[in-house]
Assembly symmetry: C2
Homo-oligomer: 314 residues x 2
């Protein structure tokens, strides 16, 4: 089983309006709500790939109950932990011209008692359920210390369970100290973590020193996702660049598809070249999918045969 951890779960509310009348009243033409957060996208993708998955994270209040209901109806097994505060909502207002205005709540203020309750539940899951891989995704809710992910990664590492960490900012840099098996920054997250700005036209190999910096800080492997420029990986076994054909669509959630593929690769003990080809193809298929957390299975199958994988010299 792959355990996905989404500490800052969200209820994603999408409103469609004809046009957004600022400083006026807008009647919603259509609305949809579903549980969101990067870890939930990973769980959805793994479920669609028939990989057994268990979702944990904080949920609180009436919004938290709605999130739990929606996970249930998505067929995702859950082991959520109650928080005192209220789960956050992320409202996206989509206008007729396609522009999206997002208004996001910060999330519940996590108390020390909430975190202790989470750690207890998490350790019980690692000990009593056949958890083979954990995926830790997204931002930390307010109130949690920056090293929350480090604590979870170290816990998993102590039990020989590989942890895939996909976050940004201080949660990423502090998280590296927990020795995650893989970290998956995108370009902006990598630049922020390493503090080196790079020309966006730089060759894939030019990024390797930045990836190496994250390995030196604690990550065993680093897979950086560069959108249409593919993936660059640096592992104990070598360095690679995986490039896919261009694809049209919505890039939101593509990074979560990469994390999902890397988690499945850990589960199957696949070789790094295999994992990277699958991650690149699933990322493309996610861009072609209708929303974050979905992918187009035909694009996935087709792209698997067209990923150009090249080994880099570190």
């Amino acid at each position: 089983v792959i355990l996905t951890v989404t500490l800052n779960l969200a209820l994603d509310i999408t409103y469609w309006v004809d046009r957004l009348n600022v400083a006026g009243t807008n009647r919603v033409r259509d609305a949809r709500e579903q549980v969101g957060g990067k870890g939930v996208n990973v769980a959805r993708i793994l479920t669609a790939l028939d990989v057994p998955v268990l979702a944990t994270g904080f949920c609180g209040g009436a919004v938290g109950r709605r999130v739990a209901e929606d996970l249930l109806s998505s067929g995702i097994e859950q082991a959520l932990v109650e928080a005192e505060g209220e789960t956050r909502r992320c409202v996206a207002i989509v206008a007729g011209d396609g522009t999206v205005t997002e208004v996001t709540e910060p999330g519940p203020e996590i108390q020390e008692t909430d975190w202790n309750r989470f750690l207890e539940a998490w350790r019980s899951l690692l000990e009593n359920r056949p958890i083979r891989v954990v995926v830790l995704s997204g931002s930390l809710p307010p109130g949690l210390r920056d090293d929350a992910y480090a604590e979870l990664c170290a816990d998993a590492d102590r039990r020989g369970i590989p942890a895939i960490l996909d976050t940004s900012g201080p949660a990423l840099t502090a998280g590296l100290r927990g020795r995650p098996a893989v970290v998956k920054p995108n370009r902006a997250e990598l630049v922020e973590a390493v503090g080196i700005s790079m020309d966006s036209t730089a060759e894939p190999a030019a990024w390797l020193p930045s990836l190496e910096a994250l390995r030196k800080a604690g990550a065993r492997s680093v897979v950086a996702s560069f959108g249409s420029d593919g993936l660059v990986a640096l592992t104990g076994e070598g360095a690679w660049h995986a490039m896919t054909p261009a694809v049209e669509g919505n890039p939101v959630g593509a990074g979560d598809a990469v994390a999902a593929a890397l988690a499945r690769g850990e589960l199957d003990a696949a070789s790094w070249p295999e994992r990277l080809v699958e991650a690149a193809a699933l990322s493309c298929a996610s861009v072609a999918g209708s929303t974050a957390g979905t992918f187009d299975p035909l694009v996935f199958e087709r792209t698997l045969r067209h990923v150009a994988l090249s080994e880099l010299s570190p």
Copy 2:
């Protein structure tokens, strides 16, 4: 007990942002949510006036549960009826410059079974609880026939319980056929209902033919609220204009304060001049209050002595 009926209850969510970044991401600085809808404002005001009140309406889904919780914590006794659909949310995004952008959901699609369940609960309340006045406020949720209020007014009328109707459009014009004791349109609602446009500088007496048209269509009395131009009333006992001193503040909810005062006047069998003075003063005090459904008690007491009431010749 005054029974307030809010068929289209709402969860009002207010988000404060520094500035609204259209087509971008906005982090919420502060958020508040509370149950809303015009009838809830009436119930809040009556509760603050120490008048016993009971609130009914449809609630559904997770948002409906949140609405019920919030009514409970506001100390308002409730007799809500479950609907299949989900209670609507009204999101107000307040920017640092004070502009408010509202995004409102339409409300649950009311099924015939929902409506029958409501009618049964409503009739049971009228028969088994000491309901002395009913106040019917706001828009009808989708799926309900325009004459829903007419049915409720006729029910109340049959039992000798006066109904105060505060709505607009087809729900108002169809509702008149139920012979409500009082209808309380504002200027725009009156113009829409009667189909006569008036010069906004018209003398109060010039509006009396429009009020008379609503009486001919079924209303026993009409109290029209004209904002800073005061109230104009046409009843079986005469016609009046109640004028108050100017007051600074937020006019949202002032009409609900008028409806609350008229309901209390019915309960106390106060004379029309007494009711109108109280309604005008409470309306001013509501404008001076912090939000819709609240009023400033000092402004209320002071304004009671400064309402200029003049009798009009119909």
